[in-house]
Amino acid sequence: MAEFSWSSHSPLEHALATGVHGLRGTEAGVSLTEIRNFDLIQVMARRGKWAELARAAKTRFEVAAPDGPNAVQAKDATLIWSGPDQFLVLSKDGNHAMNTLAPAFSGLASLSDQSHARALISISGAKARSMLAKLSSLDLHPAVFPVGAAAATSIDHTSATLWRGGDQPDGQAVFNLLVFATFAESLWHTMLDAGAEYGIDIRYSEELA
């Protein structure tokens, strides 16, 4: 009997073509990078256990877990608010995957693995906000949506988590978008349409930004 290969395929693998989409001949106004390799765990406090969970999270991540619409950067993970008394843990290399996180929060939280339920897209570039203005009703002005701001929102009628990561070395803002995997290809095409007039530099990465 043969062994089977269980290669992993991102939900955007079929649609994503690296290179430039749309306007050419000038520096692309938007950069879209799919992050393909990550662990994502939904952590929801058990009833009345938020304070204890927050302490356990502080011990584990050495940062305070978000209790409002923010994304908090820890050494090897990002904690993203997803609703009252709940957050997402984004990490890689199994550091905070289900099997390690579950024992740490045992009795304090209910955990669901969402690593395969989302696609993760990083959006930057001089025209990133212009493109996002076509997709999102949120005010992404730097003073309103600063580094670390997060939102559980909808993009093109599709549920999404959007947060602002650390700026790039050149000062440009970075927006990270988690979208449902089965919607990802459809939303990807919408994003390409929205950004085509600015030129889009498309790539993918195995590394978290």
């Binding site: 269980w6 395929h9 749309g22 306007l23 969402q114 395969h116 076509k134 999102s136 449902f180 349409d193």
Partner: protein, 993 residues
């Protein structure tokens, strides 16, 4: 003749004479300059006749220079981009522009339908209603099509729009409508205060009336002030000036609608760009500096080409250096009209006369007249003679009764100005009357909005600047910005001094609404016939209902109604103002959401594999699901589906069921929670087992069904139907947060986390033994029916395995994390190859569930109870659950309810169709003896005939009865037998074996 712009002044204007643009109007070639509108270019080329009127096909010329234009409507562009009813006055000229006049045949100069003018006496208000009443059935078939052919505007392209549109959001502290003196001053004050500002300007150039009327601001010419102001605004970090953008509506919560004509000024949008963009702007405050619209005076022949609003004439001469006439007369009732004389004299035009309706004319004007050598006549214009070649002679009724005649080819008219009160009135606001300007002004506004400048009834330049600046500064403060606004720009206020005059009696048609051909006598007739209320007047005469929405004409119409009904104008009142302020293309509202992007689509983890197999996909909600997998040589879907069903029933097949909703139910009270939302009990389900569950709505009707497994003491994995995945998640969250907050339970949608496949058929275990780690016990003892647990797969990953069956066969559902879904489907194919594994789609899935008598969407229709579905025994009597009490209502437990039953035609060769009504045999079909209907049908390869499920009155008591199927929709009648809904393996031995 291209190249000769006979009516272009040698100097001046805001046009770029270095860029000459060729264009065609009605097939004739002309040229204009960059910075022209189509209208100004036609003026420069001496074109006076630009259209035919709506009803009477009267020759019409250009009346205005803005978006209030009623006459100069053209079809712009060709083919798929043909755009009817485009205002020549706002269409920017571009190289190669093609435009055609509308509503004429065979040509603009020789319009056959102008015979309508001969019948004009009978084409009065309400003519159609009065004339085409009988016979009633002729209306749709004959009258309406004929009327629509004769009376009309431009022709739509008739094919799909090749351009793209999009929609975008913007946010600001202060939104400003208009870039005239008030708007620019508001932007300066708000911007300097540190506010985030968006200014929308309809025109392609910023400056509003300053571009045409000039003036002195802060001691410098207006043009210089504009360029300094724009430079200062450009240097502010958060001020955005949007030209070609009309603010068209205000909605709840400070949200505004605006349409940006991104590329209308080009023949077609550059690659990757949109034609227009719909903006939704969220603003803390809004300053409406939308200006005012000059209004007509109604007199006989006031629609003759060559008659033009006085301010429009100034615009053509001063801004576009184009002269609408050689010898101009002015008819005014206010000081502002006189500015046209100054502009015309400055451009070297002859002034034929000024007819001033006011008793007193200032000494300064009299001296201007004597210097210019033209008479000032105290009185009113009573008629204009002329035709398609323009005005020739103007008749004047002098105060005191004498008459005079003036030879002129152009007549500038000013009846005063109406503030643009639309935006401030959109939330059912009613403007108030202001006597000194004899006009309606805003009386309050939607929350956060304020009017300034001419839009607020302040017509002097100094007042506009002052009001705009103050409003901008206050708006910024209200939005929490505290920077220093500095000082307001300063200018003198000109005199306005108006004596109201609306209508001059005379012989011949005097038009109020030129676009809809509504005359002064139509309004008088409406009053005589009792349509005195302004809302009735509007609908009876169609006054103000054309594409210009009566911007120029409405107030004159109200004034005439007021006069004939003996009321004041404020007593007569205004009609309700509704957005949009300008027509907005449906394409802009649709934006990206057209064709394949009409809505978002969801793809299953095996989608691309299925596409490789040539699967036919069906839209199921947002999902694309494989419906069947055709093979070479199969003649139709039925042959493919039949093959798939037979393959499953005799061997093994698989189907992607990832579309089912999947919810993690966590927490110590998870079981108790499920007991309350399902009719049956889950708290006693053993870990490692699955159970079918049914949930009701509050009203006792069945809501949804699915299988829920207990994976750990405090973890259930709940599945829903594909259709109800979202609604059930919402329902459960509502139950958790609102109804049962005392329960310690957490819910997470994991629908997208898992790729899930059903593997079914007698050889299912053979296939799974290839795929699953040999250490896993898949025997009936080791993995019994309704078992659920994690197993290891060969090659290293874990999967969840559920022994559940929808097909009635020995079956498992297997799920793996979704990114392994593509690998799983390929591995299933490989592992199953020795057993002839066959992928099957939703059709075969449906056939097998009907054969097995399982209910699905057509039976879970929101009108059925658990008992109707034959699942009444599942309703626990030992606990409470949602819907329990309401399910006990009399009508819901009545003995004669329509319940699920099997149905098969008595003639085995006959086809059954869903939707057919069930009637007792021998009775005449009708509502009185309708006993139910066929809900689901299929061709059953197993029984070799068409079978179905239906909801039939007392169906379960009537098994074996022959009834009649009546299908008037398809014209079919046949006898059917009511039977047990479980057609296949009623003992269930196959799925348990």
């Amino acid at each position: 003749m291209a190249g000769v712009q006979a009516n272009r002044l040698a100097n001046g204007g805001l046009i770029d004479r270095s860029v000459s643009l060729n264009f065609r109007f009605d097939g004739k070639s002309f040229s204009g300059f960059q910075g022209d509108t189509l209208a100004s270019a036609l003026v420069a080329n001496g074109v006076k006749l630009v259209g035919r009127s709506f009803k009477y096909h009267r020759p019409r010329g250009i009346l205005t220079a803005g978006s209030e234009e009623p006459n100069a409507l053209v079809e712009l562009r060709n083919g798929a981009r043909r755009e009817p009813n485009t205002k020549a006055t706002t269409a920017e000229l571009y190289e190669g522009l093609e435009a055609a006049s509308q509503n004429r045949w065979p040509s603009l100069r020789h319009d056959f339908m102008s015979v309508n003018q001969l019948f004009a006496p009978i084409f009065v208000a309400g003519f159609y209603y009065k004339t085409f009443m009988w016979p009633a059935k002729f209306w749709e078939a004959i009258y309406e099509p004929a009327i629509r052919r004769a009376a009309g505007l431009g022709r739509a392209a008739g094919v799909a729009d090749p351009d793209h549109y999009d929609k975008a959001w913007a946010h600001c502290d202060v939104l400003i409508a208009g870039s005239g003196p008030a708007g620019l001053a508001a932007a300066l004050a708000a911007g300097r205060s540190g506010a985030r500002v968006i200014l929308c300007e309809e025109d392609f150039a910023l400056g509003g009336r300053l571009l045409s009327d000039g003036g002195t601001i802060d001691g410098m010419p207006a043009a210089e002030w504009i360029s300094r102001t724009l430079a200062e605004l450009a240097a502010l970090p958060d001020v955005r000036l949007m030209t070609r953008t009309t603010l068209f509506g205000v909605y709840d919560g400070g949200t505004y609608g605006a349409i940006e004509r991104v590329n209308d000024h080009l023949p077609s949008p550059p690659e990757h760009q949109v034609r227009q963009r719909l903006w939704r702007i969220v603003a803390k405050r809004c300053v409406v500096a939308a200006g005012a619209i000059e209004r007509p005076i109604v007199f006989a022949g006031n629609d003759t080409p060559g008659v033009m609003m006085a301010s429009a004439m100034r615009t053509y001469v001063a801004r576009y250096a184009a002269t609408p006439a050689k010898r101009v007369a002015l008819f005014t009732n206010n000081e502002d009209g006189w500015r046209t004389v100054e502009t015309a004299l400055g451009a070297g035009l002859q002034i034929a006369a000024v007819v001033d309706a006011r008793p007193d004319v200032s000494a300064a004007h009299r001296s201007l007249a004597s210097k210019g050598g033209f008479p000032v006549l105290n009185g009113s214009v009573s008629a204009v003679d002329g035709g398609k070649d323009g005005a020739r002679k103007i008749s004047v009724s002098l105060t005191g009764g004498a008459r005079a005649e003036v030879e002129a080819d152009g007549l500038a008219v000013s009846g005063g100005w109406n503030p643009a009160v639309a935006l401030t009135s959109y939330h059912r606001g009613r403007p108030k009357w202001q006597d000194d300007i004899a006009a309606f002004v805003p009386d309050g506004a939607p929350p956060g909005m304020v009017a300034a400048g001419a839009a607020n009834g302040a017509f002097g330049l100094g007042a506009c600047l002052g009001q705009g600046f103050a409003a901008g500064a206050q708006a910024a403060r209200d939005a929490g910005r505290s920077g220093k606004a500095g000082s307001a720009p300063v200018a003198e206020d000109g005199a306005f001094s108006l004596t109201p005059l609306w209508h001059v009696a005379g012989k011949g048609k005097a038009f109020v609404d030129q676009q809809h051909d509504v005359t002064a006598s139509d309004i008088e007739l409406a009053q005589r016939e009792g349509f005195e209320s302004v809302e009735h007047l509007k609908r009876y005469t169609t006054l103000g209902m054309a594409t210009d929405q009566g911007k120029g004409s409405n107030v004159a119409g109200l004034a005439i109604m007021a006069a004939v009904s003996g009321k004041s104008i404020p007593e007569t009142g205004t009609t309700i103002y509704r957005p949009p302020y300008v027509p907005v293309a449906i394409g802009a509202f649709a934006g990206h959401h057209r064709d394949k992007n009409f809505h978002a689509t969801r793809l299953t983890p095996s989608h691309h594999w299925a596409a490789e197999q040539g699967a036919i996909f069906v839209d199921t909600g947002l999902w694309k699901r494989a419906q069947w997998y055709p093979r070479a040589g199969e003649k139709d879907w039925l042959e493919s589906v039949t093959r798939e069903v037979k393959a499953v029933r005799s061997g093994v097949g698989f189907c992607d069921v990832s579309t089912l909703g999947k919810i993690d139910v966590h927490g110590p009270d998870a079981g108790a929670f499920l007991d309350r939302v399902y009719i049956n009990t889950f708290s006693n389900l053993a870990v490692g087992k699955a159970r079918y569950g049914l949930m009701l709505r509050e009203d006792g009707m069945v809501y949804d069904d699915g299988t829920t497994s207990r994976l750990a003491e405090d973890h259930y994995f709940l599945t829903t139907t594909t259709a109800k995945a979202g609604p059930v998640m919402q329902h459960l969250e509502f139950c958790r947060q609102v109804l049962f907050p005392e329960l310690d339970v957490q819910l997470t949608s994991v629908s997208d986390q898992w790729a899930q496949f059903s593997i079914a058929g007698p050889m299912t275990r053979d296939l799974l033994r290839e795929l699953v780690d040999p250490a896993e016990d898949l025997s009936n003892e080791g993995f019994p029916f309704m078992g659920a647990r994690e197993v290891a797969l060969r090659g290293g990953i874990k999967a969840r395995l559920f022994r559940i069956s929808f097909s009635g066969e020995m079956a498992f559902e297997i799920s793996v994390p979704a990114r392994h879904g593509d690998a799983l489907v390929r591995n299933l194919t490989q592992a199953g190859a020795p057993f002839g594994v066959t992928p099957y789609g939703t059709e075969a899935l449906g056939v097998m569930r009907i054969e097995k008598g399982h209910v699905a969407g057509p039976e879970l229709s929101g009108t059925t109870t658990a008992a109707d579905l034959g699942l009444g025994k599942m309703m626990s009597t030992k606990k409470d659950f949602i819907g329990r009490v309401m399910a006990g209502r009399e009508a819901l437990v009545a003995a004669d309810r329509q319940v699920v039953v099997g149905i098969k035609p008595t003639d085995k060769a006959s086809r059954l169709r869903s939707g057919a009504h069930i009637i007792p045999k021998g009775e005449t079909p009708g509502p009185g003896n309708d006993q139910g209907y066929v809900t689901s049908i299929c061709f059953s390869p197993t029984l070799d005939q068409w079978i179905g499920l239906g909801l039939v009155e007392r169906g379960r008591e009537r098994i074996g009865e022959i009834v009649h199927a009546h299908d008037p929709l398809r014209g079919e009648e046949y006898d059917v037998e009511l039977c047990n809904p479980v057609f296949y393996d009623p003992e269930g031995g196959r799925q348990r074996g």
